[in-house]
Subunit: 322 residues, 2 copies
């Protein structure tokens, strides 16, 4: 389950019944080396520099082949020509497009995607892919400081942001459980929350170590602007639990609240992670989802072990028995 190399990535996507060809391999290889998007014509230039005998038609055909195979995506900035960007370690995303210098910034927003899905459901539409392009002026062209166009692999930034979301989620979980422990009078319930809080701290530490590792691997990564924006993920998950705390909570109830939170977290990360092509970021999402799932299973087992508190049989029952 490790991340494939570029060659493996292409091989995985190669359609059955196709033949190999040196020229196509050259074109694909040069294409995959590109950061961001490239127009067909620009790719022709690049390829020609390498081998002048490769014709323009072949390059167009290969581009089409890559799009069909899922190796490339065709994007349209509305200026009458298509650009292509590769999918290798490069999730689908949205674009800010500068009208002046024609540069573009990439980003993704889980919140926007969630809203799109909600609205589509209301209108009975089954969305398949969304194109969001925001035209305007970039920082540089507005006379501000130009954002550094250092070409970090999107994948690394994506992984970083995925980890940041995971960390934010754990933090918010830790805070919730700590607060819950303070508020809970029932001793057993309190102990459950305390344990949950400790576990969140453990998990948080692990995530933070992994984050640090990633930063060590890519010096300067932390300063890269955000790629993946999210608000709902971390904020929404624990909100529902807060209300219930007021009613007083015993150990089983506490476990139930924990189960609900972990399940929400698990689902969000699972669902979101599944949306992406193989990449470090996808792995962060899915791994975190798995970890939440494990924790969830543990809580469920714990819940089942604790028999419901014996209640004094009701007056009716006592009378009937007598």
């Amino acid at each position: 389950m490790s991340i494939p190399s570029a060659t493996e990535f292409v091989d995985q996507h190669r359609p059955a019944g196709g033949r190999r060809s040196d020229k196509r391999d050259v074109i694909v290889e040069i294409f995959l080396r590109q950061q961001g998007h490239i127009a067909a014509d620009a790719l022709v230039d690049l390829v020609r520099r390498h081998d002048a005998r490769i014709s323009r038609a072949t390059i167009y055909r290969t581009l089409q082949w890559m799009v069909d195979a899922g190796i490339a995506r065709r994007v349209d900035f509305g200026d009458g020509r298509f650009r292509f960007e590769h999918a290798y370690r490069h999730p689908r995303h949205f674009h800010f497009i500068c009208k002046k210098c024609h540069s573009s910034l990439e980003f993704l927003s889980s919140d926007i995607e969630t809203l799109i899905e909600e609205i589509a459901a209301v209108r009975g539409f089954e969305p398949d892919q969304s194109v969001l392009q925001i035209y305007g002026l970039c920082q540089g062209c507005r006379g501000g400081i130009a954002a550094d166009r250092a070409s970090f692999p999107t994948d690394a930034v994506f992984a970083r942001d995925a980890l940041r979301i995971a960390i934010a989620t754990e933090r918010s979980g830790r805070e919730f459980y700590a607060r819950a422990a303070k508020l809970t009078r029932d001793a057993r319930g309190r102990r459950v929350f305390e344990k949950l809080a400790t576990e969140e701290i453990d998990h948080l530490n692990r995530l933070e170590r992994r984050y640090q590792q990633l930063l060590d691997q890519h010096p300067g990564l932390e300063q890269q602007p955000a790629f993946l924006f999210f608000k709902g993920a971390a904020n929404g998950l624990f909100a529902a639990g807060t209300e219930e705390l007021k009613k007083g909570v015993d150990d089983r109830k506490a476990l139930l609240i924990g189960i609900r939170c972990e399940r929400g977290s698990h689902r969000f990360f699972k669902r979101y992670g599944e949306r992406f092509e193989e990449s470090e970021g996808k792995r962060v999402f899915l791994q975190f989802a798995d970890e939440e799932r494990e924790h969830l299973d543990l809580l469920i087992r714990e819940y089942r072990l604790r028999a419901p508190r014996r209640r004094r049989p009701s007056r009716d029952a006592r009378r009937r028995r007598a």
Copy 2:
């Protein structure tokens, strides 16, 4: 300040130093009669049916002229040709595009637009216009019931949705003030909240009358699917106030809370209304914004009138005086 007719709309947008021409007028007139979007070629057919001597080039040139003047918008569905839609009583919007039957549904989401602005600000980008196209399968092509393609003027649906948001906001305001009145122990504070609640009911009634009027004007309008989606507007505004109620509130504090809520509401509707071309929906937004502003001013005056409660001078002060 009434809504201009189509002719007035064109005249308002006509650039200075241009000359009139019958042919162009014909093209513009036929174009403005269209619902939804139309490809240049299709417009050529339509215009030719009216006057066969108008050349293709003139129609392309007029289309360009309309886009420059802000009468038309050019939209790109990525299939290699542009479509045009007019701006007259037709706010900018997003599209669901069916990959099978090539139909399209229009919608707008204040929440998505807010998120876009927030993200743009973080990335230092100054957004000017956003293109959001969601490709997939429409209800009809999925084998469900086809949505009725009854061609309601977008403007009417937009106005309806704007009123719905305003009504939802008032409702949530009324509920908040009623709850606040119940929770407030201080008699003067309670009376302030009670008065606010009554005022909201008045306002709500007025809005509902207006809504009914609109429905009477356009039979079948209520059944049209939603065009404008919103979640944040009504929900978010009164949330902050709820926390404060717990701390106990006197009349001045109650007024302050009311002021904050009305101000939030005013700002949202003002800002959102200003984004649109002249239309019934824009008017609903701006009028509602004005009404909130009036209410706000009233509250502020009321607040100023009420002197702060006299406090017993502190022990230090008494000692100093002695």
